[in-house]
């Protein structure tokens, strides 16, 4: 066999089977959809698809926010929005993929001999094109959203520096220490005032660490003899957990500390109590 047969159309409604073709009009798009929906495999795919879409929507809207820590900065809020948003956006994709797969499972062939031949569909040009375009659109949405958020961070960096609080973060095997150069305070706990932009200058004295204050939604590596920078604005009172996110040797797991976002009054109090001066 050296030539391929022309592909039989995968849409039965476009193949009029009667001999009186010249007297039958081609089906309208509405009729094609109705005929399509009458097919068992399409109906099942739709039902399973709706089910799986719902699972992912619930995952995004309900489950992720429940699992993630307190949102205590705009960066963390943006981050959570992205995770929730991407999950909900991906829900119909998951629905389609899992719907088709589940449907195929319900149609499985049982027995020890091969199943009867299926239709010899080698390709379907419109499906491939539409699939590529739609996946390209989803990709574009993700890219644009991400770039917009990145741009927001970059803008925040230039606007707030003059009024910001500077904290020098030093990672060493296996402790974090925080120095507030403008205030003359050093601490092993990360205390921050509410609603004031804070700029972190992060470095390490030995190997790579990674500075991760969970609830603030930021993270940056600590490298020896380099200073990396990250900034945010805590906007909710409460406890912060600071962990190390880069394997740095034996006690990496224990390289954590806590901190707190407190009112400006409490923060000033803390500064003076610890031997510093209010800027």
């Amino acid at each position: 066999m050296t030539t391929q047969n022309p592909n039989p159309s995968s849409n039965p409604s476009s193949n009029p089977s009667s001999a009186h073709e010249d007297q039958q009009l081609a089906p309208t798009p509405g009729q094609r959809v109705t005929t399509l929906l009458k097919r068992t495999d399409v109906k099942r795919t739709l039902i399973f698809g709706i089910f799986w879409t719902a699972v992912f929507v619930v995952l995004g809207l309900y489950a992720y926010p429940k699992w993630m820590p307190e949102v205590m900065s705009t960066d963390m809020k943006a981050m959570e929005r992205i995770i929730v948003g991407f999950t909900v956006i991906s829900a119909p994709i998951a629905g389609l993929v899992l719907g088709i797969a589940t449907q195929a499972l319900t149609n499985r062939h049982k027995g020890n001999t091969p199943p009867p031949d299926g239709p010899a569909i080698r390709t379907n040009g419109p499906v491939v094109i539409v699939w590529s375009i739609v996946s390209g659109i989803f990709c574009l949405i993700a890219v644009v959203w991400g770039l917009v958020e990145l741009n927001t961070f970059a803008n925040a960096a230039t606007i707030d520096e003059r009024t910001a609080l500077h904290v020098e973060v030093t990672g060493s095997q296996w402790v974090w220490s925080f120095k507030y150069p403008d205030l003359g305070v050093q601490s092993d706990k990360l205390m921050l005032p509410l609603d004031r932009p804070v700029f972190f200058d992060v470095t390490s004295v030995d190997v790579n660490h990674s500075f991760w204050p969970l609830q603030l939604g930021i993270k940056v590596d600590a490298n020896r003899l380099q200073t990396t920078h990250i900034n945010t604005t805590p906007d909710k009172l409460g406890r912060i957990d600071v962990k190390c996110a880069e394997l740095c040797g034996l006690y990496h797991a224990y390289m954590e500390t806590t901190g707190e976002v407190m009112t400006t009054a409490d923060f000033d109090n803390w500064v003076t109590t610890n031997g510093g001066h209010i800027a």
């Binding site: 066999m1 391929q4 047969n5 039989p8 495999d41 699992w67 993630m68 943006a78 981050m79 992205i82 995770i83 991906s90 998951a94 993929v97 088709i100 195929a104 499972l105 149609n107 062939h109 091969p114 199943p115 009867p116 031949d117 299926g118 239709p119 010899a120 569909i121 080698r122 390709t123 379907n124 499906v127 491939v128 590529s132 996946s135 993700a142 991400g146 770039l147 958020e149 990145l150 961070f153 030995d206 190997v207 990674s210 991760w212 993270k219 940056v220 490298n223 020896r224 003899l225 380099q226 990396t228 990250i230 957990d241 996110a245 880069e246 394997l247 740095c248 006690y251 990496h252 797991a253």
Partner: protein, 595 residues
């Protein structure tokens, strides 16, 4: 093989003895590193000399090329089971050697994983302590990565692929045997890490921690350098074979999709792995000669290591993924009796992934602080990979659409992979987004993501391949009941294990930690439960493979009714595969009504 081991050990001891640090040595650790590395390479070279790897080139060098009888001898003609323990050029023997080797590595890596999860069942890390735990994490990682790189292209790329393209053997049969035995020498080197104090780094071996590390790190370095040589040889061999040795009439659009996917995978590996080798060579020279490539004190940078590593590391995960998916695309048409849906889309999907994958590496470095302005472009390239990946889904789904899947063992994996790769892919998109990665990087979420893709998708695809090609490689059918049981144990266990891990990661648990805060204990306990199901499943699979290999039902020549060339030859497959190499007149997907 015995000669190889003896000579290898002799070389290793000689090298160590010659270079060992003694009481007068200044720079003790540098010298110890030098001695250990030299010993490890000496072992490898000595073993290869002993097993006769260099006979061919040596005889050519002295002007007495191997005769035809000698070449037949090298191909294992008439040597029975002994040829599996020798330097044998028959690609089928090399395929079986790789299969057994991969299974051994998975067993060792899997045992390490069980120890890790056992330790993580409760917080505190008291089961094995931090030193052993950290070593387990790093060594489990590298063992599994090496195993996964070769899990599909090793056994099936060697045994099945040449028959599938109508060739009598590979383009370079002696190099084929070399690639296996070089890999073999790396295995004891890797294991020696345990006797040298383990490694403090993950498998990524970041500098400066890797330069600071104890003697065990040398084992890691030597393993990678040796493995990179094996992979380069194998990759080049597979590519040359597929490009030049296809049977008459097998034009590119008639090549089975497994061959396409595997070839693209190894073609991607060829430029990628040398950078890993280079990164390790520089780590070694930093450790031995204080070259300071990664030492900021003298003008070097840890970021240099990160770049070199990830320029390999990202293509490498697609090297792992592509063959597994290609196997499933090969299997699906056979078991739904329909053609592969849109062969061209499959090729474009593989090509798009392979091409883009060299442009995305710094998404592993978003939070490293190296150059935040470039995070944006890398985010764009990374998210673009979702489009060719989507094409792979389209091909798989389009193939099963309107078919009646015959749910024999090979077909189970397809459905598991559709689920696993969907979750792995979507979570990958979250990680590719820079602001989201600011939170997720370095957490257990990442670990769960890559296990879904590398283990849930690629390994499942390879195991499906084993079930599919078992009749052709062993002459027997893989026990169906045991296979089904293993499938359910591993896949259900896998979901419990890693979905639990996603949650712990979203809650904020960092990765590679021996101990964690008590707020994570619930999901860690659940994950460990899942791990034990996975372990049980793999033990059942191992039993099934061994039992079926020895006593399984004898397989007919073409039990699945497939149309690719490997099913046209009997078992045992003749030494040169075909009496007459076939002439191809169509692609192998002519299934279905009207075809």
């Amino acid at each position: 093989m015995g000669t190889g081991v003896v000579i290898g050990i002799i070389f290793a001891f000689a090298a160590y003895y010659a270079l060992r640090p003694n009481a007068d040595t200044t720079n003790f650790y540098n010298q110890q590193n030098k001695a250990l590395l030299a010993a490890m390479f000496a072992w490898s070279i000595g073993f290869l000399i002993g097993i006769g790897a260099f006979i061919g080139p040596f005889r050519w060098l002295i002007g007495k090329d191997l005769t035809a009888e000698e070449q037949l001898y090298l191909a294992g003609d008439g040597q029975g089971i002994k040829r599996y323990f020798k330097y044998c050029t028959d690609h089928k023997v090399v395929g079986i050697q790789y299969l057994v080797g991969v299974m051994a590595m998975l067993a060792v890596g899997g045992t390490m994983a069980m120890m890790i999860r056992t330790s993580l069942a409760v917080p505190g890390g008291h089961f094995i302590g931090a030193t052993i735990y950290n070593s387990l994490v790093g060594l489990h990682g590298i063992t599994m990565i090496v195993a996964m790189i070769i899990v599909a292209t090793g056994p099936f790329g060697n045994y099945i692929m040449p028959i599938m393209i109508g060739a009598r053997d590979m383009a370079f049969p002696r190099l084929n045997a070399l690639s296996w035995w070089v890999l073999f020498t790396a295995i004891p080197v890797l294991c020696s890490a345990w006797f040298l104090g383990g490694i403090p780094t993950g498998w990524t071996a970041y500098a400066p921690l890797s330069v600071q590390a104890g003697p065990g790190m040398n084992a890691f370095i030597a393993t990678i350098i040796i493995f990179a040589i094996s992979t380069a040889v194998a990759g080049m061999n597979i590519t040359a074979t597929v490009v030049t040795m296809r049977a008459k009439g097998m034009k590119w659009n008639r090549v089975p999709i497994f061959v396409i996917g595997s070839t693209m995978s190894v073609a991607l590996a060829i430029p990628a792995f040398p950078t890993f080798m280079l990164a390790m060579v520089q780590t070694a020279t930093d450790r031995v000669y204080n070259t300071g490539f990664y030492d900021a004190n003298v003008g070097g940078s840890g970021w240099l290591y990160a770049h070199l590593f990830w320029i390999m590391g990202h293509p490498e995960v697609y090297v792992i993924l592509l063959p597994g998916i290609a196997i499933l695309m090969e299997i699906a048409p056979v078991f739904v009796r329909k053609p592969l849906f849109s062969y061209n889309a499959a090729v474009m999907g593989f090509a798009g992934i392979a091409g883009l994958s060299v442009l995305v590496w710094a998404h592993h470095m978003y939070i490293s602080g190296w150059t935040p302005t470039l995070n944006g472009p890398f985010m764009v390239t990374t998210e673009m990979i979702s489009v060719p990946t989507g094409l792979l889904f389209l091909v798989m789904l389009g193939t099963i659409w309107r078919g009646k899947p015959w749910m024999k063992l090979p077909m189970l994996g397809l459905f598991a992979v559709i689920w696993n790769l969907l979750i792995g892919g979507i979570t990958g998109i979250y990680l590719s987004d820079v602001p989201a990665d600011n939170y997720l990087h370095g957490s257990m979420y990442v670990t769960a993501h890559f296990h879904y893709t590398l283990m849930g998708a690629a390994l499942t695809g390879a195991v499906s391949g084993l079930a599919y090609w078992f009749p052709k490689m062993t002459g027997r059918m893989l026990n169906e009941k045991a296979g089904y049981t293993a499938f359910w144990f591993t896949q259900i266990g896998f979901q419990i294990l890693f979905l639990g891990m996603f949650i712990a990661g979203a809650e904020g648990q960092p990765r590679r930690v021996v101990s964690f805060a008590s707020m994570y204990k619930y999901y860690n306990m659940i994950s460990t439960g899942g791990a034990y199901l996975v372990g049980t499943g793999f033990i059942i699979l191992l039993w099934a493979v061994i039992h079926s290999w020895r006593k399984g039902d004898i397989a007919p020549q073409n039990p699945w009714g497939a149309k690719t060339l490997e099913w046209t030859v009997p078992y045992p497959v003749p030494l040169e595969n075909f009496d007459e190499t076939p002439v191809i007149t169509s692609d192998p997907y002519g299934y279905g009504r009207g075809n």
